[in-house]
């Protein structure tokens, strides 16, 4: 799977601080070098990993405890037993805290939405590589923004959004911000700045839409089924009239300034092999797969 890339245009539209040349892109995925199978190496490899996974019990809100059921304990034990790789997971309910800790150099790797760390084009993210993507509980690896309106809204298609009031995400949520702006550009939708509202969470976007303060909202594709919104509303209350491009939802990313490329590939092979051959039930059906291609702006020279 390859995710399309529209960074340059989106960043220019958003006027973000990451205003780099549209062509200055770099691949975030570390593609497997060869087909040799994962094997147990004699040297113990240790990693400290910061984790914020939408579907993990230890990094999700209590209100989705019936949905976010994934637990990594057994997976980590098997990684150690089969591949001599010892991972220490540090869980974060708050992505801002994970981002801060990663930038402070506390981890060798992170398991989270890739844009959370790649949004910073300089610093620790420069050495980061996505070694594997994580499937959700349905076997999907994608994240996208959904354009929604209330079920009883007169708006039925994207083209009717021109001139309307829209709430969307902040620039640290790619699928709700950059990808949304690109979608509007592509579809020829004109929205003046005074009718665009930025909010940091899907819940706040839904709040404004439910109060009729806006006509449409852009939320993450999982927001109505695997986020706090499950306590607030239902998917049946809204109509989806459009969606943005798809990007990776959750990736295992290794800091190549702290681990060698060979070690990163060793981890990659182990994650994928264990997911294929011995995925514990506690992973709830979602294992690691080869990373899809996704390019982000590189640091300005």
């Amino acid at each position: 799977m390859t995710f399309s890339n529209v960074f340059g245009l989106a960043l220019l539209m958003a006027g973000t601080a990451l205003a780099v040349e549209p062509t200055a892109l770099r691949e975030t995925a570390l593609f497997p070098q060869n087909a040799t199978p994962a094997k147990t190496e004699p040297t113990l490899l240790k990693l400290v990993v910061g984790v914020n996974d939408v579907y993990c019990k230890d990094s999700s809100c209590k209100c989705i405890e019936k949905i976010a059921t994934r637990q990594y304990g057994e997976f980590c034990r098997q990684l150690k037993k089969r591949y001599n790789i010892e991972v220490e997971f540090v869980y974060f309910l708050e992505p801002y805290e994970l981002d801060k800790a990663f930038r402070a150099g506390k981890f060798d790797a992170v398991l989270c939405k890739p844009w959370l760390v790649f949004q910073h084009s300089v610093g620790r993210s420069e050495g980061l590589a996505r070694v594997a993507d994580l499937q959700d509980l349905h076997g999907d690896i994608g994240l996208w923004g959904m354009v929604i309106v209330p079920t009883n809204s007169a708006i039925t298609k994207l083209s009717e959004l021109s001139g309307r009031r829209i709430v969307y995400g902040q620039r640290d949520a790619y699928e709700k911000h950059q990808a949304a702006l690109e979608l509007f550009q592509r579809e020829g939708i004109k929205i003046s700045q005074d009718k665009l509202v930025e909010k940091a969470s899907c819940l706040e976007c839904l709040d404004l839409l439910m109060k009729d303060s806006v006509d449409a909202a852009i939320i993450s594709n999982y927001a109505l089924t695997a986020d706090c919104a499950v306590d607030v509303t239902t998917p049946e209350s809204f109509r989806v009239i459009g969606r943005t491009e798809t990007i990776p939802l959750t990736s295992f990313m290794i800091d190549l300034k702290r681990l060698s490329r060979d070690d990163a590939i060793r981890v990659q092979k182990a994650l994928i092999a264990l997911s294929q051959d011995g995925l514990p039930a506690s992973m709830c059906g979602g294992g690691f797969v080869k990373p899809a291609s996704w390019k982000v702006p590189s640091a300005t020279p």
Binding site: S60, C61, K62, C63, K66, I67, L93, E94, Y96, E97, Q170, D172, K199, A200, S201, L203, E204, L206, D207, M210, K211, D227, C228, A229, V230, D231, V232
Partner: protein
């Protein structure tokens, strides 16, 4: 410029700096951690907090009510109100009100997986004298749930999470319903907490799903709100916050966020004054944090993390 003029200018500058520093100190309160209550009592849980007579702290812990002298970390007495899983405790003068919810277990199913869920179907309110002597029960009419409560000026305020998902107000003598406060509340994680401003009767509700603290008038009109999710100190974080608030004697607000645990003082109109520094983890994940303040502006926070106790923060001046 002669020497005298220079001295005058320097003196004026010094006066300005002093005044500025004084104003800053007056406008920006500072808090430091104080005593820890309940560690010696081995509290199983801090379910709810209230401040009663002589600023004594009242703590509900599972099925027990404990009373603390604000200067001592061990309880001075406790009593068993005869209720399992107390959800709220409140005080009015020398009367202690203890609440719990009536529940039934219901079979649920999600994507083929079966599980049981506790459903609230009613509320119980018992009154006690300051020494723990029973003082009668009170029926709060048509109330389905109670997860937090306050008593003030002859009115009982309760969080009716499982019923109307609003703050219900009842007559403290008759139990008759008086009002329902809170509109468009985006509630999650089973949390609905509030504070009552004793000077105005305003009700402040943590609309955690909207990342706002909202102020309603005593008759239920939304007067103001502040807050949004964000990475700044004045913003709120986590999957949904703030979870609770309390009104200080000077009218400023103590606002509490669960995970990540943060407590900050705001002006009544939402300007951040100061955070509580070096705060311990109050709670892991999405759970309620009880907060209470006393007449001296001391703040009490229920800690339900690795340890279970009540943490005191005291104003530095």
């Amino acid at each position: 410029m002669n020497t005298m003029n220079r001295l005058l200018i320097l003196a004026a500058l010094a006066a300005c700096l002093t005044q500025s520093a004084t104003l800053q100190a007056a406008g920006k309160p500072e808090y430091a951690s104080g005593l820890s209550f309940g560690k010696q009592d081995h509290l199983q849980q801090v379910s709810s907090l209230a401040v009663g007579k002589d600023d004594f702290l009242v703590v509900a812990s599972m099925n027990k009510v404990l009373i603390y002298d604000p200067a001592k970390e061990q309880s001075v007495r406790s009593f068993d109100p005869g209720l399992t899983n107390i959800t709220a405790v409140a005080t009015d003068g020398e009367t202690i009100y203890v609440f719990t919810r009536k529940t039934v277990m219901k079979d649920m199913e999600y994507q083929g997986r079966k599980y049981k869920q506790t459903i609230p179907v009613g509320a119980v309110c018992k009154k006690f004298a300051w020494d723990g002597t029973p003082a009668g029960d009170l029926e709060l009419k048509d109330l389905k749930d109670v997860i937090n409560a306050k008593v003030l000026n002859g009115k009982i305020y309760v969080s009716d999470f499982g019923g109307t998902r609003s703050i219900r107000v009842f007559d403290a003598k008759t139990g008759e319903p008086l009002a329902s406060i809170g509109k468009n509340l985006r509630l999650c994680c089973g949390i609905l907490d509030f504070a009552v401003d004793p000077k105005t009767g305003d009700v402040l509700i943590g609309n955690l799903g909207a990342f706002k603290l909202e102020r309603y008038s005593a008759d239920g009109q939304l007067k103001s709100s502040f807050g949004e999710r964000g990475d700044k100190l004045e913003s709120f974080q986590g999957c949904c916050n703030p979870v609770s608030a309390a009104v200080l004697p000077d009218g400023n607000l103590v606002v509490v966020e669960k995970d990540p645990s943060r407590v900050k003082i705001y002006t009544p109109d939402g300007k951040l004054l100061c955070p509580f520094n070096n705060l311990k983890e109050l709670v892991k994940g999405c759970n309620m944090v009880s907060v209470a303040v006393d007449s001296k502006g001391r703040v009490y926070l229920g800690v339900n993390s690795a340890d279970r106790f009540v943490l005191q923060y005291v104003p530095k001046s």
